[in-house]
Amino acid sequence: MSDFFNRIIGLFLVFILLVIAPLIIQSLSRDLTIKRSILNEMTNFIDKVTDTGHISELDKTDFYVGCSSYGAVVDIKIKRYMRIVNPDGNGSTYCTYVLTDKITDWDQGDIIEVDVQAIDHTTAQKLAVYFNKVSTPKLDFQLAGMIR
């Protein structure tokens, strides 16, 4: 009788090791590629904006499509922190940044912050939660540069 149970457990383990394990490993490495690729898209975009000081509709579409083409559905925010320099009353000045919605034309010294947030967990994250009970946060990262 116990032999029968052993076989059932064995079958279950074989299924996990032969089907689930490769799936987990494959999706983990895919996750890594997705994150790195999105980061590359972000650096390309920031480099472009910091050099030209301008974002056209085409640039934005290009960037959105680029980020979404790696398999993760992401929500992208482009934030413009406009540099404001005011007198501080002591004969000197202080610098501060104001978040603004106008992101077409940028001025020198403005900071561009690109925020990428995944809408859902990736396959690897879901599998990790399901099988290993390891929970990791959704993709959410920023990168910023200053307009030259």
Partner: protein
């Protein structure tokens, strides 16, 4: 029965291994990714810092000393912190600024033509006048010290180097003089810049050690970036630069990570383009290649601008 048991045990081991592997892999993945992101963040921040430095109003540049410029290093540091904050989605407020300054930046260097500024955490006011307790009391801030010369010693004489290498200041027996050319022991401009890089990196090490003298938790270990050593044969300092050392960043990872970045600038002499009319055709060529028999009508900073003004490339003199 026994065989099935063994097979089951082996499978269980494999399963355990798989769980350990994937959790480990996820941790490593986060760590690696954050490391990459941090290096981008530090690069962007130091790029912004050097840009801000070069954009300041008065760089005191002139034609007699190539690479010479002077600017306020505090501008660079402020911009570095602002852009670094934005890279982690932090607000631009004093609390975050202080947190970054005091916890992540052990040294920030602005290397100029004839000297460098180094910013390290400094006690700016004591909580008690006596006894002083540097470990926990008082207010700390990341402050630049006075400008330090690139001090180089050879045969009992002390030299103050500069990035141009056309001269060095020599101090010997309380006599200060101007030494023409590179000082003895330094044979080329590359060596000169390598020596400057070595001076800066050894001062960074010294300052960090000194800073942690009274720190009982200090393990005497910190990360010296490979880029700062001259052993690799690659020198990171070519002109006025910003060197940012960022350590123990724990904003996104459980284990602190570190990064280093150098942002450099290079001052180039513009090669003017002369525009003239030869045989009834409007031509341009580099001003230094123009024969003395031809008079230039106009001068342009780039060949593109000369072309835009309707002049054609004169292959005869451009070659």
């Amino acid at each position: 029965m026994k065989k099935t048991g063994i097979a089951l045990l082996v499978s269980l081991y494999y399963l355990g291994g798989l769980i350990v592997f994937s959790s480990n892999y996820i941790q490593k993945d986060i760590q690696e990714f954050e490391q990459l992101k941090l290096s981008f963040a530090v690069d962007y921040a130091s790029d912004a810092a050097i840009c801000e430095l070069l954009n300041s109003k008065d760089l005191s540049m002139d034609y007699s000393e190539t690479n010479y410029l002077s600017a306020d290093p505090n501008l660079a540091l402020e911009t570095f912190i602002d852009v670094f904050s934005a890279n982690y989605g932090l607000n631009f407020d004093e609390t975050n600024e202080d947190h970054i300054k005091m916890n992540f930046i052990p040294a920030f260097v602005v290397a100029m033509y004839d000297g460098y500024y180094i910013a390290t955490p400094t006690l700016i006011s004591n909580a008690n006048n006596y006894p002083e307790n540097e470990l926990s009391d008082g207010d700390w801030d990341l402050k630049f010290g006075p400008k330090l010369p690139y001090k180089y010693e050879y045969n009992g004489s002390t030299y103050a180097l500069n990035m141009g290498g056309e001269y060095a200041l020599k101090l010997n027996n309380n006599m200060l003089s101007k030494h023409k050319g590179l000082p003895p022991g330094i044979s080329s401009t590359e060596d000169n810049l390598g020596e400057i890089s070595r001076i800066i990196s050894s001062n960074i090490s010294y300052t960090i050690n000194k800073l942690n003298e009274t720190n009982t938790r200090w393990a005497n270990t910190f990360y010296i970036p490979r880029d700062l050593t001259t052993y690799t044969g690659v020198n990171c300092i070519e002109g006025p630069s910003v060197l940012a050392l960022v350590q123990n960043v724990d904003l996104a990872t459980s284990r602190p990570i570190s990064a280093f970045s150098v942002a450099g600038s290079k001052i180039q002499k513009a090669r003017m383009v002369a525009a003239y009319t030869r045989d009834g055709i409007k031509y341009y060529c580099y001003a230094d290649k123009l024969p003395s028999s031809i008079n230039a009508e106009n001068l342009y900073p780039t060949i593109k601008e000369a072309a835009r003004a309707g002049y054609y490339c004169d292959i005869k003199y451009m070659e």
